[in-house]
Symmetry: C2
Subunit: 272 residues, 2 copies
């Protein structure tokens, strides 16, 4: 561990074990506009799954559907092992709050990552070193302050008056925790939702926005990830389309050692 005292991220994603029903609590440190940072919610669900006594194998894919705003305070996580095979597990998780309505619905697959033929077709995007890249400090939303974002390309130009310029949606940036923390599956999942909304980039402005569904694939085993021993990733993100109030995002998270750790995609609502 890079820090000895409990990290804010670990506090924010803390869970209390139950039988099938676990408990968590939103964190003011990772608060976004109208609720908790979705990446933090996703990581909390993943933490509960990883900590579950029946869990076997490494997280391979996770899809999180954000059904309704999460209110400040406590929530329940109902964890259900839907199907287990010899080498994989299928989970379904419902997050509910006081009213009993589902706020977040997630599915995850855990699998034993057996040795196989290996090939990376995607190329490491490359970037100037983290130390030579300026931190992005223009947004004071709580969750954003928990991260050290350093844009290599596609820094957002909010409020730019050059509205006639073509929309730019590509970004390449270093992402680390503001207080350095070794990258694990939890932080990787959170970071896969940490790219600023592509619609903000495209419109060069903040507009009403909410992620509807996030899917992240992990391309390393727990052992691989631990061996990387890194505290930041190089992230790239882009969008393909915005149409009738919904837009997409696709992204990659790379180890600075040049290894593809995770790919991610999401569909989001926007008003513009």
């Amino acid at each position: 561990m890079l820090t000895k005292t409990p990290h804010l991220f670990d506090d924010a994603t803390k869970v209390t074990a139950g039988d099938s029903r676990w408990q968590g609590h939103t964190s003011p440190d990772y608060w976004a506009f109208v609720g908790p940072f979705g990446g933090c919610t996703a990581a909390t669900i993943l933490r509960a799954l990883i900590d579950h006594p029946e869990r076997a194998g490494d997280p391979t894919t996770m899809t999180v559907n954000y059904c309704a705003p999460v209110a400040e305070g406590a929530f329940d996580l109902d964890l259900r092992l839907v199907k287990a095979n010899r080498s994989s597990q299928h989970w379904c998780v419902e997050m509910t709050q006081g009213n009993g309505e589902v706020a977040t619905l997630a599915t995850a697959v855990f699998a034993e990552r057996r040795p196989s033929w290996s090939h990376s077709g995607a190329s490491y995007p490359g970037a100037k070193p983290f130390a030579e890249t300026l931190p992005y400090t223009k947004i004071s939303v709580p969750w954003v302050k928990q991260y050290d974002f350093r844009f290599v390309e596609g820094e957002p130009k909010y409020g730019s008056t050059s509205s006639s310029a073509p929309p730019e949606t590509y970004s390449k940036l270093w992402i680390g925790d503001s207080v350095p923390r070794k990258i694990d599956f939890l932080s990787l999942l959170a970071m896969s939702d940490a790219f600023f909304a592509r619609i903000f980039h495209a419109k060069r402005d903040f507009v009403p926005f909410g992620t509807v569904s996030l899917t992240t694939y992990f391309h390393v085993s727990a052992e691989d990830l631990a061996a990387e021993g890194i505290a930041r990733v190089l992230g790239v993100a882009d969008a393909k389309i915005f149409h009738k109030s919904y837009g997409d995002q696709n992204g990659e998270l790379w180890s600075p050692n040049g290894r593809l750790l995770a790919t991610t995609t999401q569909i989001a609502y926007f008003k513009a």
Copy 2:
């Protein structure tokens, strides 16, 4: 409709309504190696959701987790509206067979596609016309014969002895039903799983393979899609990584009119 008699695809994805529990049946016409073609299973689930009396809005995203092989015969679909908001619905579907174990777990979001700012950042890949491209007829698996695949680039070279050549995973191809059928959300979803396994392309051979999770985003409303009035799509697919028995695939489905209809991603098990 382009055909007047019932289309095999509509037979294969037929469902019988229940209250929350619907019924379906696997189709020999869409059989794959050890079970039904996953795209047909996904489309059957989507059909049940679209036909559900409580459904409102258009499908926006669907994630299908293939938990276990589906046996030949009948299956039940347990459809649950997990959360409904003013303009969107979150559904969860479990497919079970006789033994009561879950074979397929799916989540879907339906939404009212309100007018908005619109922008397509991705470029139409372009291709020589369908009529000038040769059908791919080298595979006689039942489900493959239901489609008219015409490779523009990246035709598979199974059994090729040039094993020293670098793995190629990119494909561009026309995809239509062998008996032409107007493209709707059902066929679009099925086609998003109709690319041949990227590992087959990479290894130039058939190896044990199974899709674990498929996520498809729809970028058109029902009205948009009907207005296209098309019977085939131009599909592109690629893979980023194969590692420790799992590999990814990402793809796009385009209208021949140059409109991005759907994006898709999947993670799959392989043995190689």
